[in-house]
């Protein structure tokens, strides 16, 4: 199966197999004014299978939040068909407006217009702490 290479844009590689569409939706690529391809179940020596998204357009990509969704993803920035940068993602130190605190006693459950902010508490166990009420959140994935 042939899919054209990217002129200027991104190749989002090493996406966990089966979650490409989720990443596509998160990045709101359905609204992107450029060519986008999701390639599913590509054979991978590292992971067995993986998904890939190719974006032929220089649109903003939120690598911070993408790292939270899947820290194994690699974002390849392409310019004029050449690899400009290879970004290895990691869990972000701060998450803003990505998830919401589940503590019903937290001020974020009632106060409108404030950021939903979390700080990374433990990288290994993927624990984040709500900056308002300190509740630990663990099972995001």
């Amino acid at each position: 199966m042939n899919i054209d290479g990217v002129n200027t844009g991104y190749v989002i590689d090493h996406i966990k197999a089966g979650t490409g569409l989720e990443i596509y939706n998160f990045l709101k690529l359905d609204k992107a004014d450029c060519t986008v391809a999701i390639i599913q179940r590509v054979e991978s020596t590292k992971y067995g299978y993986k998904d890939i998204i190719k974006i032929d357009g220089d649109i903003p990509i939120d690598c911070n939040t993408l790292g939270y969704m899947d820290e194994n993803i690699t974002v390849n920035r392409i310019k004029d068909r050449k690899l400009l940068e290879k970004i290895h993602l990691e869990l972000p130190e701060v998450l803003t407006n990505v998830i919401r605190c589940r503590n019903p006693r937290c001020i974020t459950s009632v106060e409108e217009g404030i950021e939903h902010r979390f700080r990374l508490a433990d990288r290994e166990t993927r624990k984040y702490r709500c900056v308002y009420c300190d509740t630990l959140h663990t099972d995001f994935q």
Partner: protein, 306 residues
């Protein structure tokens, strides 16, 4: 907003700053006249989105003894919150009228939100089951006055150690001081949360859990009693089952040390029997008095007057 200091969590203050506040409070006790006009023409806004007799009265008395004025409300229904106003808007409005704000709110993190919008210092006067730093300052001040030091004793903490925010805050504050042994006295259902136990382990302090007050009393220098609070439970049955778990009675003090100091953040319901009040080791009303002095010191410090 602004470059003022706030007090949201007890750890916002360094150990040196806490020592400084205690020094000021000691000086206020020694010479109250010197301080009686220090906050003249200053206003404290007490924004209490849930009722609290002791904390609000203590802040009010503190500001009045400094010669300042107090304005505010003591329940959400008296504020524009009942009309749907946000915490952020209420705080911005209060900043226009007051030089310093003491805020209590049932939602955890509300004073932190307030502090981000305020143009004057914000003091967290309790946010749900989360933080209550001025209670911790009160506890530290009482320990200092009764023991002459903030380290070098065995402290027992009894009652609701799971939801008891005063206990969690006090532990975090005491971990900065040396040579303290901790005895945690609670039923299994109300024992310390794991993350606080981890903190104790990481700090390398000596601590243990016991299931009976009688067993712990003889070795204690300080006994910190707490109330099992109905509002911290989602389930009424759990509250009823556990509320009378640990009650201190006069006869239980027979094997206790002569200089034991019994503390309680108050209000007390039935966890300390009335006949304990006459025992010289009962310090909980003295503690309430210390709460006023340390809040006076805090107001002066946050206003940059001391």
């Amino acid at each position: 907003m602004g470059d003022h200091r706030n007090l949201i969590n007890i750890t916002d203050l360094s150990a040196a700053e806490i020592d400084h506040l205690i020094e000021i409070a000691d000086d206020i006790i020694a010479d109250p006249v010197k301080y009686q006009d220090m906050c003249a023409h200053k206003k404290l806004a007490t924004l209490f989105f849930e009722p609290s007799t002791r904390t609000r009265l203590s802040f009010t008395a503190a500001m009045m003894e400094l010669g300042g004025n107090v304005l505010g409300f003591d329940q959400a229904s008296s504020s524009s919150t009942s009309k749907g106003e946000s915490v952020a808007d209420t705080i911005v409005m209060a900043s226009c009228y007051a030089d310093i704000i003491a805020m209590r709110h049932p939602k955890e993190g509300a004073p932190f939100v307030g502090a981000q919008y305020a143009s004057v210092p914000v003091i967290n006067a309790g946010d749900g089951g989360h933080f209550h730093p001025t209670q911790t300052l009160t506890d530290l001040m009482t320990i200092h006055r009764k023991k002459g030091s903030l380290g070098g004793y065995t402290i027992g903490m009894c009652g609701d150690l799971k939801f008891g925010r005063t206990v969690h805050s006090l532990i975090n504050a005491l971990l900065r001081y040396d040579d303290i042994k901790y005895v945690m006295i609670s039923p299994e259902e109300l024992e310390l949360p794991d993350y606080i136990k981890d903190t104790l382990d990481e700090a390398g302090v000596e601590w243990k859990e016991v299931r009976s007050l009688d067993e712990a009393i003889p070795e204690l220098d300080i006994l910190y009693m707490t109330r099992v609070q109905r509002e911290r439970f989602f389930n009424e049955e759990d509250y009823i089952r556990l509320k009378d778990s640990f009650i201190l009675r006069r006869e239980m003090l027979d094997p206790a040390k002569e200089d034991l100091a019994i503390l309680h953040p108050l209000p007390r319901v039935n966890e300390i029997a009335k006949d304990v009040d006459d025992d010289p080791r009962a310090c909980y009303f003295y503690q309430a008095l210390m709460g006023k002095y340390i809040r006076m010191a805090l107001i002066l410090y946050l206003l940059g007057l001391k």
